[in-house]
């Protein structure tokens, strides 16, 4: 009963957030609307990452490769493949699912350290390919000339397009988070071996989590390509991967909306301060250190982090 109420509450909360975000675009100047669009896209990226980090206890160090896969497969299908927006979108999703299936299969072959390092390795490999294969990907300069859906070409209407797309993704992820699948995912985080002895094929289960996570990151990537009207290697860089992890860490990886809050903080700070301070990444570093030392579990994660501390006490 209480839980049912809590869920209704979260639906209500979601509706209010969407309304506020809709109104914001009406009153904010273009610069801020554009920034907010980026926040929404990166929030989707961070939430997709957090499904692995916060829920499953997996630590992918190179998650930007799936953002990049979305960006590049969409961008290349659109510019080199001469596809219209919708088929390019569908094709990019398909490519991302297949790629995350293959990469996931290759990464998930040992303990979590092996996974993290293999993941990092693939990220570096893909970044290098994108950066060096100039004739195909444009190398360092990227590719420009990606258009937005016809009705949504100006900043404000594109913002609403992104808001709608991201909202749909959030609803899907929210449903997923409440499912038996997500319950088992949390079990994976807590005790992998127990799960194995409950008859669950861990590697296959992790692969499914991996593909879902990669899929939502790819959607974020496609939206990012539309926002920037181009594709750039920074979208698939290690810095982006690290930024994603920072968002989860700062906002709180034990809550559904934590990484979104983290995304807002990281994107706004990096954009706004970079016009004043040259070394904005230093500021980000300070925030992370403060988060890890000051409030473990991030801004939205205090309660849960206390639980985890107590768990450590039990272990001792």
């Amino acid at each position: 009963m209480l839980q049912a109420l809590a869920r209704n509450k979260s639906i209500g909360f979601g509706v209010i957030v969407v309304i506020v975000l809709s109104v914001l675009a009406l009153v904010l100047p273009t610069y801020w609307t554009q920034l907010l669009t980026r926040v929404l896209i990166m929030a989707l990226f961070a939430t997709s990452l957090n499904f692995q980090v916060g829920y499953a206890g997996m630590f992918p160090l190179g998650h930007s490769m799936f953002l990049g896969l979305g960006v590049y497969s969409f961008g290349l299908l659109f510019t080199k493949g001469d596809l219209a927006l919708t088929p390019a979108f569908g094709g990019a999703l398909l490519i991302s699912i297949m790629a995350s299936g293959i990469i996931g299969y290759l990464c998930l072959r040992g303990d979590s350290m092996t996974f993290a390092l293999l993941h990092l390795g693939f990220n570096i490999l893909l970044y290098t390919i994108v950066n060096k294969w100039i004739s195909f990907t444009g190398g360092n300069a990227g590719i420009v000339g990606i258009s937005r859906p016809g009705l949504f070409s100006d900043t404000q209407s594109f913002y609403y397009f992104v808001l709608a797309a991201v909202s749909i993704c959030y609803i899907l992820m929210r449903i997923l988070i409440n499912s038996p699948f997500a319950k088992v995912t949390q079990g994976l985080r807590e005790n992998e071996e127990r799960l194995r002895f409950l008859g669950i094929n861990i590697r296959r289960f992790q692969l499914v989590i991996f593909i879902i996570s990669g899929l939502f990151a790819a959607v974020a990537g496609i939206l990012l390509a539309m926002l920037d009207k181009g594709v750039f290697p920074t979208d698939i860089s290690l810095t982006k991967s690290a930024e994603g992890l920072m968002m989860c860490l700062i906002g709180g990886m034990f809550s559904f909306l934590g990484p979104s809050l983290g995304a807002a903080i990281v994107v706004i700070i990096s954009t706004v301060t970079s016009t004043y301070i040259n070394q904005w990444q230093g500021l980000l570093g300070i925030i992370i250190i403060a988060c890890v030392i000051g409030f473990r579990g991030g801004i939205l994660g205090r309660r849960k982090s206390k639980l985890r501390l107590s768990k450590e006490r039990v272990h001792q």
Binding site: S179, I202, S310
Partner: protein
């Protein structure tokens, strides 16, 4: 015959931890495995569930060979395993701990949507009732007392409705009274669900009170198997437990 091991061997480098162990366990039997520390008891359970891979030999469960199957397949065939150190989802509630086992048992692992809040509510409550942890349902597993954690470990395993249950020192670290409660509970549930049980135990009282048959291990070998009275009077066993009176 529900479980049969044939000439199981496990070498760790030059150390032979399990040495040609052949066991026959009948359906419905409660079998205790005893022996001094380092006799290879836990390793034997690891070999049966393929948690560690046997150097040679084979394991048959209900007439079919399971030696090389991955642990999760063996688990889903109906062999439940409780560990010496409880393996629980400590950051989740007691309810959720059992719920995950039920989700697996009822084939809902890959169900990605549910508009019902408490999946398998009824089944979970039944298990919690049977292990007497219903009042602790919303408590984090990490907050439970040690004895309750042992109970929960058994509950999670029973939620899978195994036909064979392997228990590694189920009563270690709990008080004598609690240990007795736990063993009575296991016996009762075993009778209700027609379970076969293999348990490792150091407490001789427990062993002689609750086991139908006892196998004694020493230096990797099974040196005697029999009903409690036979084991009590076996001179070889008495030698191994030198000075330790078997009551």
């Amino acid at each position: 015959m529900i479980l049969r091991t044939i000439d199981l061997v496990k070498d760790f480098g030059s150390l032979r931890a399990v040495d040609n162990v052949s066991l026959d366990i009948e359906g419905g039997e409660v079998r205790a495995i005893i022996g001094p520390n380092g006799a290879g008891k836990s390793t034997l359970l690891d070999l049966i569930t393929n948690r560690s891979h046997p150097t040679s030999g084979s394991v048959y469960f209900r007439g079919k060979e399971i030696t090389n199957l991955p642990p999760f397949t063996i688990a889903s065939k109906g062999i439940g395993r409780c560990f010496q150190i409880s393996k629980l989802f400590l950051g989740l509630t007691t309810f959720e701990n059992v719920q995950i086992a039920c989700i697996s048992k009822w084939g809902k692992v890959y169900h990605m949507y549910s508009f019902k809040n408490n999946v398998l509510d009824h089944e979970v409550t039944k298990v919690l009732d049977s292990i007497g942890l219903n009042e602790m349902a919303d408590e984090l597993a990490g907050y439970l007392s040690y004895g309750d954690q042992r109970r929960l470990e058994i509950g999670i395993t029973l939620a899978m409705m195994p036909t064979l249950l392997l228990l590694d020192e189920p009563t270690a670290g709990v008080s004598r009274g609690e240990g007795n409660d736990l063993m009575r509970l296991i016996k009762k549930l075993a009778a209700e669900q027609a379970l076969t049980i293999i348990f490792i135990e150091h407490d001789m009282d427990m062993v002689f009170n609750y086991a139908d048959k006892i196998s004694v291990m020493h230096q990797g070998r099974v040196i005697a198997t029999g009903i409690p009275d036979e084991i009590r009077n076996n001179s070889l066993v008495q030698n191994i437990y030198l000075g330790e009176k078997i009551s």
